[in-house]
Symmetry: C2
Subunit: 335 residues, 2 copies
């Protein structure tokens, strides 16, 4: 038997908090509890991706809550599966935490993971509990292509295509992060947001969107399957656009007029914080919306045009705005 | 473009060190570099497990080397797939590290992961790089059951079965750990082991086995498929035997005479360290050998009998040694 030690929890008691948060599904043949899970796929083509969140590096204590940490860890992985044009089915989670972590934190993280996974038709099928100095979630998302379906890669964009994004509002996660980094937001364990000295309406929604991005990922395995190239917007429009450009050997020209409404929506908050809303829109990370290149006049519902795919420009910048070079850059985990 | 900062590396330069370490395979349709990998399975039955290693908790700097950390992270995940009676095919790895981590560490960890995966026919198909205060590897292993094959669960053992283990030597990882925890071993970055004040021959091999367990996992998807129940030995014979007993609703009686050679082999080192070799053999973790219950007279090559499966004993201990209660317990990550 496993005896709980003072100030800490046994693995068994943590599992007792976590497992009830994880409903199963028909395609899960063996769920948590054996050496590994068994999942029945709709085809033999597995799509898989992994991504970790570390406290203090990828999220800040006091600026988010455990349930949202779970949701964010889920969404950033599910988005990568969706961006291949594949339907997500299963997640596994390695959760490492300090010994004194309260039971509710495990419970809430699991609930957040499971509820976001359920939005996209996926289940948590397995996990691992371990010790670490800081709360760390490493999530792997798995999905499958339908029978006979090809993955939608980053490399298929062609000059003349339209660049489109699967969200009405860009830059919101970056705006929320700016509020947090300016010390203007405090989030309690239940997800209540207290703002200090900011009057712009909707600011709390931006903080929440940064902490737990809400995005329609079904565009990836839905209308996005018509794209010539697709990826999820995780490190900013300029940086990710540059990756799509490099993979497809093309250039990307962003359309200032198309992005102006996104900038205008964030301008009042940017003015309060003394920041440039164009930076949020052009370089803002962690939106996880689908970024895709479609044949002209074939941009489907759910996507909106934000630029054009050009012939590659030797020596010039891969991504421009109305033909002009863009300053600044996206997010590098190690820079 | 990503500029390396003083004392740190850009993601691009780390990837340039890592990717050449990762050979691909025929079943990998899309490897690292897009949003997600695409792997072609031999059936529609995915088997998946995840497990993390954190520096200072799961391994100690100075007591192992980056290549072995990679090997260990691979083997402990591959073992869980094998223990379902499934063939491993793919790994993904979320690697988080401090900013000042040398490029060689990423390179060597990747090489260790890939070389152990290759032993079992699997490839590294994707990953994630991030920042953390301590080196952290979260690995997910995926495999597949053959067409029409059922998974081998923990729950199928029946009274009268023989309990068998897929290794000639138990307790070696625990013995190696005891040497490390006693401060008697130092391992340099190239895997050279310096021992202090220990004369027992073979001691360095035990340290190496603890740091990078060598075990025949092909028993899992090979002859182990005949087992009524199977798991990998990760937390000690008594603790894992208890899990198998609980899942199958049976008792387990270990055979003292069958385990005596394992104990005898470790007795000289145990005497030097003032420890009890029975503790290593009965409770030693991280062997990752296949632990399985077979019909009597049906124990296949590669496995050796170490006990018997009994009818469940209400109120009594789940695992006994020649019918007697066993003191001590296995490893709890949170206790």
């Amino acid at each position: 038997m496993t005896a709980p030690r003072p100030g800490g929890l046994s693995e068994a008691s943590i599992l007792a908090a976590v497992l009830p948060q994880l409903p199963s599904a028909d395609h899960v043949e063996i769920g948590p509890g054996d050496d590994a899970a068994v999942v029945r796929l709709p085809s033999d083509r597995l799509v898989v991706t992994t991504d970790a969140l570390v406290e203090g590096h990828d999220f800040l204590p006091g600026a988010t809550c455990p349930r949202w940490i779970g949701r964010k860890a889920a969404v950033q992985n599910l988005a990568d599966v969706a961006a291949m044009g594949a339907r997500p089915l299963a997640l596994v989670v390695a959760l490492s935490a300090p010994a004194e972590t309260p039971r509710e934190v495990f419970e809430q993280i699991s609930a957040g993971l499971a509820e976001r996974a359920a939005v996209d038709g996926a289940s948590i099928v397995g996990g691992d509990l371990g010790r670490a100095d800081r709360l760390t979630l490493a999530v792997t998302a798995m999905g499958a292509l339908g029978p006979g379906e090809a993955p939608v890669l980053r490399s298929g964009a062609r000059p003349g295509d339209v660049l489109a994004i699967g969200t009405e509002h860009l830059g919101r996660s970056a705006a929320g992060l700016a509020v947090v980094l300016d010390g203007r937001a405090e989030v309690d364990a239940g997800g209540r947001i207290a703002l200090e000295g900011l009057r712009t309406p909707g600011t709390a929604d931006l903080v929440r969107h940064h902490d737990a991005p809400e995005v329609d990922l079904s565009l990836g395995w839905g209308s996005g399957r018509a794209a010539h190239a697709m990826m999820d917007l995780s490190d900013g429009l300029v940086r990710d656009g540059g990756r799509l450009a490099a993979a497809s050997d093309v250039g990307v020209d962003l359309d200032r007029a198309a992005l102006a409404p996104d900038v205008a929506a964030l301008a009042p908050l940017a003015a309060e914080l003394g920041e440039d809303p164009w930076t949020w829109v052009l370089h803002g990370a962690e939106e996880h919306a689908m970024l895709a290149a479609f044949a002209p006049d074939a941009v489907p519902a759910g996507f909106r045009p934000i630029g054009r795919i050009l012939a590659p420009r030797a020596g010039g910048p891969a991504v421009t705005l109305d033909g002009a070079e863009i300053s600044g850059e996206g997010f590098d985990h190690f820079a």
